[in-house]
Amino acid sequence: MTVNRSRLPDVAPDPHFTFPVIVRHTLDNGLHVRTVEHPSVPVISFIVQVDGGSGADPSHQEGLAAIAADMIDEGTGSLSAIDVSDALARIGADYDVDVGADATTFGLTTLTRFADRGASLLASLVTRPSMREEDFTRVRQLRLDRLRQLKDLPPAVAERAFLRLLYGTHPYGHLPIGNDRALRGMTPADVVGFHHSVYRPERATLVVVGATTHREMARIAEDAFGSWDPKRGEASTSTAAADAPMNDGARLAIIARDGAAQSELRIGQLATRRNTPDYSALLVMNAVLGGQFVSRVNLKLREEKGYTYGARTGFDWRRALAPFVLQASVHTAATADATRDALAEIGGIGGDRPPSTEELTLARASLTRGYPRNFETVQQVARGVAQLALYHLPDTYFEEFIPKVNAVSAEDVVSVARRYLDPARLTTLIVGDHAAVSESLATVGLGSPELLPSES
């Protein structure tokens, strides 16, 4: 075979994508169980997802959901925090916790031969945590110290302030870690109360994905979680289901970080909910605009101008109104130019620069081709199935994904860009050297930047 270098090789269409069967059942206590067989490496993954994340933090108790999640592996029954850590390590378990805006998710992955031990340990932790006062005091102190450290981390400062700018006092308006004042006011009783009202079998989903049968996974689920008692006090009604109000006008704000070598840039606005019928069109729009290395924003700011190591856009999806955000860390001297270019790109896609056929083809293909690689590991499959539960998406979601994305047209992209990206309502935030950038920032057309205090 000789290589023809005059043109790129053709690529045949992908084989038809099928997602493995998701078997659902509900335990007597109301726990929703979903199992998927994944016969490759002898590994099994469990996810327990409870309905309630940082958006369920009561007002003035920002950070409660995250502390409650942190307390889960601090002991159960006769096991201390140290014993729990030891028990996890002995089965080589990967244990992780994610506190999102709408849900709290616990993951445990282990070798299939330790499936029962892993499931039973995870069940004890999630359903019967010790919640000892001395552990609470230590965990809270670590979070307070962490909060203090985050003040030195420009991306964290920007992320925190940007949520506040977009959401105001809405339950989504804070990071899971909360704030200093709220953390200091919390008591162990608050955490126990949160656990009782949010960590309930009827509000939870257990996903099991492993190199074994549905039947065996169902047995493991029943053995480990069947005794989770559903009847304990009142269920939480506090969720962030209501949409936050949108900003009225464009806004430019800055948080001073004297002498910073780079400026953290965020531009965005509240857009729509995860379960919007426009989801596929928005994904394609975002892929053209800033979702990938070859998207417009990165090609402009990085590859053409050299202002940044990378710039990207995306939706931080939630059940209620979720934000669209452009983010980049740009050279201080290029702050105003980068902001101007970024704003122009966001405005252009629904305006005078609709996607070309080539851009559209690339965007759709990059989202749909090679799709099976997203489901190589048990953790990937388990996380995917947990997302279906979180956003109430059908079990056919993954198989419908490819045709839906491929059906998105250039008109659809322009239409959703016009609908959800409104240059007149974009919020722009800079975390950077105020003295060095404020004068030139005033020339981007959004007036003089408003100086914000850094949050405690």
């Binding site: 996890l88 390590a89 080589g92 450290q149 780079q262 050279h331 293909a365 690689r373 590991t377």
Partner: protein, 440 residues
């Protein structure tokens, strides 16, 4: 032990006549193939005053080649590929994970930039990427709390002419001084078949993999294999340094020279790091963070490298706590392991975790750390792609005595670098006798 007995990473290997190693691993679970190529060049091949070049060059590999004189990403992403590259001290790797039907395309693209990069490389592309790298350095090092610490540690740990004296990102002034003209020689010296290793892993029959590799890469002329980099440099004393940074809480780092990657004692240092600082049950976490609550966090790792490794322990003081006290506790724990070794229980736990992670890594064919990357690591750094089982055995065969002996041999208190990072203007928060250093 976890009782994982039948683990393996099967493969076939052939070497093309131009010297390119080709390795194929079949795994037909998912209709994708991972293409992974290592060039045996990293920042260790640079010299003082010219640091950061290997990494900048990696960026240039994505800017187009003679027969595809445009960005590297679009054709591959259009075919559904995931792709990236990275540079460290020892090697530069590039990978694509593609649908099986796009394997030809990925090989065409990889071979074109191996064989025909220079005609597409312009001064303008070079200068833009130089700016991008300066941004990368500002974002990941200069503008990040404690981001300059490792630069200071490596500079003190290794003498100025040692290739690990500088970090892979390079010195800012060196990056600014890079010349377009230097690119050609670098490419000719290091980017050729005899200094590269190609792995195809996934939904591909071995014979077809070899045929495709020969077709796309066979025409590329061989080159001279670069001489292995060798270097020595032992510490003769404890060096105490202090760095002021924009941080809220002071942190202490301790660093030692340790056995090279895969050398005797390397696995023991990995296990030691785990039992010192991984999880609440680890010795340092339990003492510093859980019981005495004088630290906010603690970490330890063995940074395994080709020419020689280093072992690092780091802990951040809780507000109002003294680094001197943290240092004393760390020393006490190290001394205890040196005197008595870990308990059988601790060692079993650490080995169990290491074994489980060997299994978890077998789940992915591509990307950083996936099976294709592992095979290349074994082939390039061990000259043995079949090293998987022996690699796992290094951990299984460790004993409490071998961990104790390694701790004693490699972590002496009087030959190490101790760096403290303190909030600006608060040098008094450092440990006694620390000399200020400036890093930019």
């Amino acid at each position: 032990m976890l009782g994982v007995t039948d683990l393996d990473l099967s493969f076939s290997k052939r070497t093309l006549s131009n010297g390119l190693d080709v390795i194929v691993h079949e795994d037909h679970h998912v209709p994708i193939v991972a293409v992974n190529i290592w060039y045996h060049v990293g920042s260790k091949n640079e010299r003082p005053g010219r640091t950061g070049f290997a990494h900048l060059f990696e960026h240039l590999m994505f800017e187009g080649s003679e027969h595809h004189n445009a960005g590297y990403f679009p054709p591959l992403q259009r075919a559904g590929a995931l792709l990236n590259g990275s540079t460290n001290t020892d090697r530069t790797n590039y990978w694509e994970v593609v649908p099986t039907s796009a394997l030809d395309l990925a090989l065409w693209m990889e071979s074109d930039r191996m064989g025909y990069l220079l005609p597409a490389l312009t001064r303008e592309r070079f200068e833009t990427q130089r700016d991008v790298v300066l941004n990368e350095r500002r974002q990941n090092y200069e503008n990040r709390p404690y981001g300059l610490a490792l630069i200071a540690i490596l500079a003190a740990l290794f003498p100025p002419d040692h290739p690990y004296h500088w970090m892979t990102i390079g010195a800012a002034e060196d990056i600014r001084a890079m010349q377009f003209e230097d690119v050609q020689e670098f490419f000719r010296t290091y980017y050729h078949p005899a200094n590269a290793s190609l792995v195809l892993a996934g939904d591909i029959e071995a014979e077809r993999g070899f045929d495709l590799a020969a077709a796309y890469f066979g025409e590329i002329p061989s080159g001279q294999k670069p001489r292995p980099v060798q270097a020595n440099g032992a510490l003769t004393q404890e060096r105490r340094l202090l760095l002021e940074d924009r941080v809220e809480l002071p942190r202490i780092y301790m660093a030692w020279h340790s056995p090279a990657m895969f050398a005797e004692g390397d696995a023991e240092m990995d296990l030691l790091a785990d039992l010192l600082a991984n999880g609440k049950t680890s010795r340092l976490y339990r003492t510093l963070v859980y019981q005495r609550r004088i630290a906010l966090d603690v970490s330890a790792y063995q940074s395994s490298r080709e020419v020689g490794s280093f072992f690092l322990v780091a802990a951040t003081a809780a507000p109002g706590q003294s680094l001197t006290e943290l240092a004393a506790v760390i020393d006490t724990e190290l001394q205890a392991i040196e005197d008595h070794g870990p308990t059988q229980d601790e060692l079993e736990r650490s080995v169990a975790q290491a074994e489980a992670h060997f299994v978890y890594r077998l789940q992915t064919v591509g990307g950083f750390g996936g099976k294709s990357d592992q095979l290349n690591a074994y082939n390039v750094l061990r000259r043995d792609p079949g090293y998987f089982a022996a690699d796992l055995d290094r951990y299984r065969n460790a004993t409490f005595e071998s961990v104790r002996a390694a701790t004693k041999a490699y972590l002496p208190f009087d030959r190490r670098v101790v760096l403290t990072v303190v909030p600006r203007g608060q040098q008094a928060l450092s440990v006694p006798g620390a000399e200020p250093v400036v890093v930019s």
